[in-house]
Each structure stands twice: as structure tokens, then as C-alpha cells.
């Protein structure tokens, strides 16, 4: 029973609020019922339904539904009762940098990525130009709305991929800014 102590005590980093929490399964009471320790409080979990990407349960008699949106070895993205929470299994070794999901989006330090598909209405910067974080890079049209794409950093415009009149897909690189 103690051979698999991975799940016996797990410490998580709750990304969205930059806090840690821990959870431990103390014992299985019956087929569908567990005694757990969550942040030092003992609670009873009744599992109502479960599948590979879904778990419905009661925690101290209150119903919850958790949809597992993404799961890797170190990160779990959960939609719990319609609230999105990202948990990192925190081994105390490498601190995971908290990134604000609002504002502009980067997949590296250089590439400015489009979050939406759309048509490029106008490009506001030129290659070789120095720009500031927050400067408007281009304007996209999607769903009858104009959406401005802003620079995610200060830097030199190395390359502009977006051309006026062309369309960009989600996750396309709009520009490279060094």
C-alpha cells in the first residue's frame, strides 16, 4: 500500500492565485468514499461519477464537478464548477514563473502570437523600428469587431509577418520583437 506514495501526499501550486496547497488521501472508507486531508483539514469525499477527463464528487456534502482540461506530468488544468484553476505539482525544486494570462501573449520572448483568427486591417509598426510594450502592432477584424494587438515587450521589430488584407490563424506569429 505504501509502495505508491505519489498520491499519498501531494503539494500543488495554485497558479492563478500564486499560492500552494496540499492534499492527501488518508483512507478509502468505502468503494466511493474517501477520507482526505486538504490543507490540514480532514474532509470526506464521495465520488458520484468519474471518467478519464471528468470527476463528479461531494466534498463534505457539497457537490462539485471537475473537468480535466489538460494534464501533463507537472500541470493539471481543471475546470471546477465552471471556475478555471491550474495546479502545478510542486516538487520544491524548480519554481514555476507566474504569467499573467491577461494582456498580450507570448510563446517565447521574441514571437508575438495572435490569440484569435482574423483579417489584418492595418499594420501600425515597421521593421527595424524600436517599439514599447503596449504599442499597437496591428488591428485585426474578427466577428465584426476590430481588435488591436499590442506589443508584449519593449524591443526592436525584427520581422513582421502580418500583412494588411491577409488573414491570420490563431497562434500565428504576427511579429518578432527582439
Amino acid at each position: 500500500m505504501e509502495s505508491s506514495n505519489v498520491w499519498v501526499m501531494t503539494e500543488y501550486k495554485i497558479k492563478n492565485i500564486d499560492k500552494t496547497g496540499h492534499a492527501k488521501i488518508i483512507k478509502q472508507i468505502s468503494t466511493m468514499e474517501y477520507l482526505v486531508n486538504i490543507n490540514n483539514n480532514e474532509k470526506i469525499v464521495n465520488i458520484l461519477d468519474v471518467s478519464e477527463d471528468y470527476i463528479e464528487f461531494k466534498l463534505d456534502n457539497v457537490y462539485h464537478v471537475a473537468r480535466i482540461i489538460e494534464r501533463s506530468t507537472s500541470e493539471i488544468k481543471i475546470l471546477i464548477d465552471d471556475v478555471s484553476i491550474v495546479l502545478n505539482t510542486n516538487y520544491g525544486l524548480n519554481e514555476i514563473v507566474y504569467k499573467n494570462s491577461g494582456g498580450s501573449i507570448t510563446d517565447s520572448q521574441i514571437n508575438l502570437i495572435s490569440q484569435i483568427p482574423g483579417k489584418v486591417i492595418s499594420v501600425k509598426i515597421n521593421e527595424k523600428e524600436e517599439i514599447k510594450k503596449g504599442d499597437i502592432v496591428c488591428v485585426l477584424e474578427s466577428m465584426k469587431m476590430q481588435v488591436t494587438v499590442k506589443s508584449h515587450k519593449d524591443g526592436l521589430v525584427k520581422k513582421i509577418n502580418a500583412k494588411t488584407g491577409s488573414t491570420v490563424a490563431k497562434n500565428d506569429i504576427i511579429a518578432e520583437i527582439e
Partner: protein
């Protein structure tokens, strides 16, 4: 008598019109673009025809093709819905030429409503107050200064080539106006090769209040109460309600009469909306006439009991409005939230794609108009409005609480929506107290509050999330899924990793 209506639209409004057609035993003809092959309006109409590619110009704005389809399908009328061709007087005229009933005002009346300057002049003659300012384009800086001093600073200098908040300058005195006039003229000449400027009184902290009007072909006119649509972002309405918290019976009668005068002045026929701005001191100014069925018509339906699409069709059929102003009774209170597919924190950027799952709220006082169904797709080619959630209550508070709960029951998986934003607005003390204005979101830092609410929700749900993650890890690692229920040995398997 209209027997078959082609609906030159898509999404929830196409479905809304189909529902009334079915009640009236009128056949509905829908049209669809490549993007809409699997859309609900195709499934629910009596017949449907392919109209063109995804780009609106090729499909829902393709006047010639739509007329052809209407003629070949034997439709005797076209309902334009809202958006697309609904306020295009050329299209209304094209319908008239082809002997197809256009369910809306005549092309002439629509043209008048669309010409803002002309309309403003007509309102002046009809003694309907408009926003103080010039009634003509100001040709030179002297006229602009005269106008500004007449109405008093601060004023807005507006370019008629702008729109949606662009090309507007706020000026506080003669000096600023001189500078602004020069800049605006230069800018407009560069961009458009011509310049056309207006001076208008700057009005702070305004409410958007509109009246629903109906006018038949014999000139009988009624207003069907007001809607307050002050909760907006970027001049787009988000939440509408009827009645307005600042309109009592006396104001309703007075401003309702102004609205009636306005619509009579343009010899309007069918349903239309007269929009007003309301200042904090209770002054109402006419803005414009919306010559179509509005997105927010359900709130009026809920407080009046009327089917407004039926009323449109009846009027288009040449029937008289079957009631008088005094027959109409405002019953309770209704609120609408426009559920948009958008990411509030990405500057309201559209969110499109597959809707993996959806669960639509229902129950006492709840009405949901939507084109969503599980596994449908939200297209980036069209409007971001995916659903209209309406609540009715005996009073504002009951309607508000019902809406707040229904928002919680509206589950849409796969795309971002404005539902969380509306929960924050609906539960804000300022909304509860009816302290509304078009700058509500900025004035009360609603997005910051929403961010805080989301953080609080995460804190509240963290224990459950930790429990879920831990138990799911256990079940995921052991590859025991839903079938374990049937397995009596499950207990042992779990520990025998």
C-alpha cells in the same frame, strides 16, 4: 396575406423568427453560407437554401442572390432580422421592385432614418429635442465657435466620417476648438480627401434609454414602453432592461409621446426604436431611429406580453394595430444579458470554435434565445452574440436574482463568454441600485472587480480543486475509469498498484 417568409439572417434571430412563423402557420425559408451548413436555423425552418460562401458579402449581404432565392422558393416576404441587410434601404427598395414584402419600414422612410443630419432637422421641426449642436456641417472655424458658444463648453468636435467613437475630440474652450478644428480638418482631408465636421454638446454620465414603437400603415402609433440599455462596452449594448429605473409613469407618457412624434415625423411604418440619451437632470435628447427589430426586443415582449415579430408581420400584412396605447400595461420587469463569445480579459476579443457542450437555463421567469447546441461551432465570420438570456420578475429585484442564478446555470464549454462579466455586473451594488450609465464599466472598475471575483472564486474552490486533482491522479494512474463501479474487486485493485 403573407404565407412564406424568407429570413435573410442567421443565428438566434433566424430561430426567433421561425418560432413565430410556426405559430402563425407561415412557412419559413432559411438561407445559409458555407459556415452555417450545420446551423440550427437550417434545421428548424421549413426549407433552406445555400446562399454563398462564408464572407457576408457573398452570402447574407448578397442582395441579388437573396432576392433570386426568395422568388424561386415562392416566398412572398423577407424578414431581414437585425444587422446584415436590415437597415439597407437599397435592399428594401429591391424587395419592393420585386413585389416581395419587406418586413420593415418603406425604403423611403428607412433612408430618412439613416441620414443622421436630415433626421435631426426633421426632429427639430417635430419639436423632438436633439443633442444641442449644429444642425448642418460646420464649414469653417467661425461657425464652429458660434455653435460652441451657443450651446456652451465643453463640446465635441465630430467627423461624420468617423463612427464608433473614432474621430471625436473633446474641447473645453475657444482655443482648444481652434486647434482641434485645424487638426481634424487636416486629418480628414488626408484620410478621405474631404472634411465634414459637426459640433455637439458634450454630455457626461448619460443613460441610453429607448422606446419601442409600432406604427401601422394607417398612421396608428403606439409606444411599447422603454428599455434602458446603458450597460455598454465600446458603444455596444451588453445588458438591457425594461422598465428603466429612472422612468416613472409620467416620464414614460411624456417621452413616449416624443417618440411617437419622432416616428410620425418620418412616416415610419412597422416596428422601430427611438433612441434617447438621458442626462442626470432628467433631460432626454433624441439620438436616432433604429429602423428594424432590435436585438433586445425580448425584454419588451416579456413586460408587454406581445409577440413583436407577429406584430411586424401583421403590420406588413396591412393590418391595423389591434390595441390602443391605453390597452398596454407594463407587467413586472425584464432583463436581458447578451451572451457574447469573447474573452473579457483579452480586450473583449472574439472567441470562436467548437462548443463542446452547452446546457441552457430554463425555469420560472427564464427565456433563452440561442443558436447553440452541443458540438456546434461558433464562426469567426459573424457576430459574437451567441445567446440572449432573458429573465422576468414581478419587480426588478426578482428579475435580477433570477438572471443571476440563470447565468450560473448557463454552461458553455469550449469557448470564452461574457457570462462571468455579467455575474459581476448583476451583483454590483450600483447595478442593484439602478445607478446606470453608458460608462458604467469604467466608472465602477468592473473589470477589476471581475478579476477579484474570479480570484475569490478560485480561493473558494481551491479545496475542491485539490481534492479533484488528487483523486483524479489516483484514478488516472491506475487507469480505473467509470467502469470500476461494476467491479467488486475495485477496492483491492486500487491499492495494488
Amino acid at each position: 396575406m403573407i404565407k412564406k417568409i424568407l429570413i435573410a439572417n442567421r443565428g438566434e434571430i433566424a430561430l426567433r423568427i421561425i418560432k413565430t412563423c410556426r405559430v402563425l402557420n407561415i412557412k419559413s425559408v432559411s438561407i445559409y453560407s458555407d459556415e452555417d451548413v450545420n446551423s440550427l436555423h437550417v434545421k428548424k425552418s421549413s426549407e433552406s437554401y445555400y446562399v454563398g460562401s462564408a464572407v457576408p458579402a457573398q452570402s447574407y449581404l448578397n442582395q441579388k442572390r437573396i432576392i433570386e432565392l426568395a422568388l424561386s422558393a415562392g416566398a412572398d416576404a423577407i424578414h431581414p432580422g437585425y444587422g446584415f441587410l436590415s437597415e439597407n434601404s437599397d435592399f428594401a427598395e429591391l424587395c419592393e421592385k420585386n413585389n416581395i414584402v419587406f418586413i420593415g419600414p418603406s425604403s423611403d422612410s428607412m433612408k430618412l432614418c439613416g441620414d443622421k443630419m436630415e433626421c435631426k432637422k426633421i426632429m427639430k421641426n417635430a419639436q423632438v429635442p436633439t443633442v444641442p449642436g449644429s444642425f448642418d456641417l460646420v464649414q469653417n472655424v467661425e461657425t464652429a465657435l458660434d455653435n460652441a458658444n451657443n450651446i456652451g463648453y465643453p463640446v465635441l468636435l465630430k467627423s461624420v466620417f468617423g463612427g464608433g467613437g473614432r474621430g471625436i475630440r473633446l474641447v473645453n474652450n475657444d482655443n482648444e476648438l481652434r486647434n482641434a478644428f485645424e487638426l481634424a480638418t487636416k486629418e480628414s482631408m488626408t484620410a478621405f480627401g474631404k472634411s465634414a465636421l459637426l459640433v455637439e454638446k458634450f454630455l457626461p454620465k448619460i443613460r441610453h434609454i429607448e422606446f419601442q414603437l409600432a406604427r401601422d400603415k394607417y398612421g396608428n402609433t403606439v409606444h411599447i414602453f422603454e428599455r434602458e440599455c446603458s450597460i455598454q462596452r465600446r458603444h455596444q449594448k451588453l445588458i438591457e432592461l425594461s422598465p428603466s429605473p429612472v422612468v416613472d409613469r409620467k416620464v414614460r407618457d411624456e417621452v413616449g409621446q416624443l417618440a411617437i412624434n419622432a416616428i410620425n415625423a418620418v412616416e415610419y411604418s412597422n416596428l422601430g426604436t427611438v433612441e434617447f440619451l438621458r442626462l442626470d437632470d432628467g433631460t432626454f435628447y433624441f439620438i436616432e431611429i433604429n429602423a428594424r427589430l432590435q436585438v433586445e426586443h425580448p425584454v419588451t415582449e416579456l413586460v408587454s406580453g406581445l409577440d413583436l415579430v407577429k406584430l411586424q408581420i401583421d403590420i406588413a400584412n396591412g393590418e391595423k394595430i389591434p390595441f390602443n396605447q391605453s390597452d398596454l400595461k407594463l407587467n413586472g420587469c425584464a432583463i436581458e444579458c447578451r451572451i457574447n463569445a469573447e474573452n473579457t480579459f483579452l480586450d473583449f476579443a472574439p472567441s470562436t470554435g467548437l462548443v463542446k457542450d452547452v446546457s441552457i437555463p430554463s425555469g420560472p421567469g427564464i427565456r433563452t434565445d440561442t443558436y447553440l447546441y452541443p458540438k456546434c461551432t461558433v464562426s469567426p465570420f459573424y457576430d459574437s452574440l451567441i445567446a440572449k438570456l432573458n429573465s422576468w420578475g414581478q419587480n426588478f429585484e426578482e428579475a435580477r436574482k433570477r438572471m443571476s442564478n440563470a447565468l450560473g446555470d448557463f454552461y458553455i464549454q469550449g469557448i470564452d463568454t461574457s457570462i462571468s462579466l455579467y455575474k459581476t455586473i448583476l451583483n454590483s451594488p450600483e447595478f442593484i441600485h439602478g445607478d446606470l450609465s453608458t460608462d458604467f464599466l469604467d466608472r465602477f472598475d468592473i473589470l477589476d472587480r471581475l478579476e477579484k471575483n474570479i480570484k475569490n472564486e478560485i480561493i473558494e474552490k481551491q479545496d475542491a480543486a485539490l481534492a479533484a486533482a488528487t483523486l483524479h491522479s489516483l484514478l488516472y494512474r491506475t487507469k480505473i475509469n467509470i467502469n470500476y463501479k461494476q467491479d467488486p474487486n475495485w477496492n483491492h485493485q486500487m491499492y495494488g498498484l
